[in-house]
Symmetry: C2
Subunit: 346 residues, 2 copies
């Protein structure tokens, strides 16, 4: 971390090239660069020190060449970008001052120049773990909030199913549904996660989808009356099994399809006829369309956190050099809870 | 048509047994029974003479053994049932009198006893062709109306695509969309139907999907800016091609999936990830949920019909004995426009 005139060495995680199939650690490499910590005159930007970085499933799609998507491809040869929590070191933007804590899109590196800091959220509440702004208080939290309350149209007493239920978003959807008085079942891929769902997050039931020879049978066991709301994080065979178990006028919020992200050709979904017979609404959503609700979300969620009614489990990787393994681990379900990478604690 | 004491011979079309694969004429048979034309004391029913019978794609699903669907299976060995226009010959129900014209569910036979006539609609407007109550003024008309106005949330100027566009429902959806000021393209399976769409129903463009080697390319040709609304009647490969051509916040009303009805295992749909990237809403619906809007629909549609702003094309089969061929023809697209069977004209 040497240097003169405010120039610092800057470790970075670079995407080597576009990726097909399951991403591997070796698709990324660590590189040392250097970076001036002052924003240039005439710029509107801020220079930040990155504290926590977020590993999120949607990042998989950015590893391929995209056209017309709501996200942009990563640039091979350049640092990965993604959500993170950062501290402002220098600012030429009127909304930000040195010392401010922010969350939003930053680089997978020790220091980043954020050229359009308008998209950053300033962190006002610091009596919670700062890493929460990559999870429950950041993009995944808003995703759970918007997806459940705005897309699912939930009502007290309804039957709710959440897949990838111990993940960054799923664990919150289940807790929100319980707060509303719903019956909630989650699926996950290990016994440890199933135990978390039942014992930590308060799901009524949970099951390990990898141990179910027939997902349709599993769903009928937990939902003899059928499913009103499905919060979809995985896609593929689970979606097909859910479709035949939905109740009339059920709703499916399509948040993610992680089982499909590493396939060259996605699996076919065969039971869409259920959309008609059961009059289902299936709706995809993207959290960026809902960020205007962030203040309202914070007002709701902060008291729940502080008073222990909503809990959050993070899987914390220490050190930027471990970020590639952490990201890759999402796609084999290695993480338990929200995957965070600590770059620096302050 | 022999008798004594009001007992008439009664020709009927019987389903022999449950059907797999494409239905064939020989899956049905004509049989002569007899029927008393007086409603028994203590019953609430009506006896009707059937005038026009409706052939509708949803009837395919009733030819198999169904559980928990919104419709019931036909009973092998008994007459097919379906929508029709009928005249009341005798009534023990306070809402109906001898001579009333009604539309609703009746039997594929010359005379039917309707035991629960509450579901029948009384026909008040007879200055339009009576057969229209199997189509534009009946279930398909309400389907087009509810599907387009209630499910699609259409706005002036939007880009609308309709598949099976010359069918009983599609031809109306296209015309409704034009009335609203949308750009409308339809697909159909013959040159004759494509010509109808462009020259009779006023679609902006139309194409023969059977002549398109790549449906994605075809859709891009007609929708260089993408599709806001897809009125889905067919499913399968067309749905996959549409998904990648939808615009952000587009809507897909799932009315039918006729390409799939005769397959033992429906085709897989692979592009559901577009639901997320484009934030699409895909919603199945069933017309029976919207029948409370029927008076409002009539108020809207009757002036359009009488003043020639909305037209309707029927494919009329003469005689009950030709009903099996007419029904079967739906699944090879043999009908041009709404398929009706004339049992009697008065």
């Amino acid at each position: 971390m040497a240097e003169g005139e405010g120039v610092m060495s800057n470790k970075q995680i670079i995407l080597r090239d576009y990726v097909s199939g399951f991403p591997k650690e070796s698709d990324m490499l660590a590189r040392s660069g250097s970076m001036g910590l002052k924003v240039a005159e005439g710029s509107n930007g801020v220079v930040v020190k990155n504290l926590y970085l977020s590993c999120d499933p949607y990042m998989r799609s950015r590893m391929r060449q995209l056209q017309g998507s709501y996200v942009q491809s990563f640039t091979p040869g350049s640092p990965i970008t993604g959500y993170g929590v950062s501290k402002v070191l220098d600012s030429k933007h009127p909304n930000f001052n040195k010392g401010d804590l922010v969350w939003g899109i930053t680089g997978w590196e020790e220091y980043s120049l954020v050229e359009a800091p308008e998209t950053l959220f300033k962190i006002q509440n610091t009596d919670v773990p700062l890493s929460y702004y990559t999870g429950i208080l950041g993009m995944p939290g808003m995703t759970a909030y918007a997806g459940f309350y705005e897309v699912c149209s939930p009502k007290k007493g309804e039957y709710v199913f959440v897949s990838a239920a111990s993940g960054a978003v799923g664990q919150l959807v289940g807790q929100f549904a319980k707060l509303l008085g719903c019956y909630v079942v989650g699926s996950a891929g290990t016994k440890e996660k199933v135990d978390l769902l039942k014992n930590k997050f308060g799901f009524d039931e949970a099951f390990n989808y990898k141990e179910e020879p027939d997902l349709n049978v599993a769903l009928k066991r937990y939902f003899p009356e059928g499913i009103d709301i499905y919060f979809e994080n995985v896609g593929g065979k689970m979606l097909d099994a859910v479709l035949v178990n939905m109740r009339v006028h059920g709703r499916i919020a399509v948040c993610g399809l992680i089982s499909q992200y590493n396939l060259d050709q996605p699996e076919g979904v065969h039971n869409l006829f259920c959309l008609i017979t059961k009059r289902l609404r299936m709706e995809g959503f993207v959290v960026i369309d809902y960020y205007h609700l962030y203040p309202k979300f914070l007002e709701m969620i902060l008291p729940h956190i502080k008073e222990g009614r909503v809990v959050y489990v993070e899987d914390v990787a220490e050190g930027l050099e471990n970020a590639p393994a952490a990201l890759v681990g999402l796609f084999s379900g290695r993480n338990v809870g929200k995957q965070v990478v600590v770059v620096a604690r302050e």
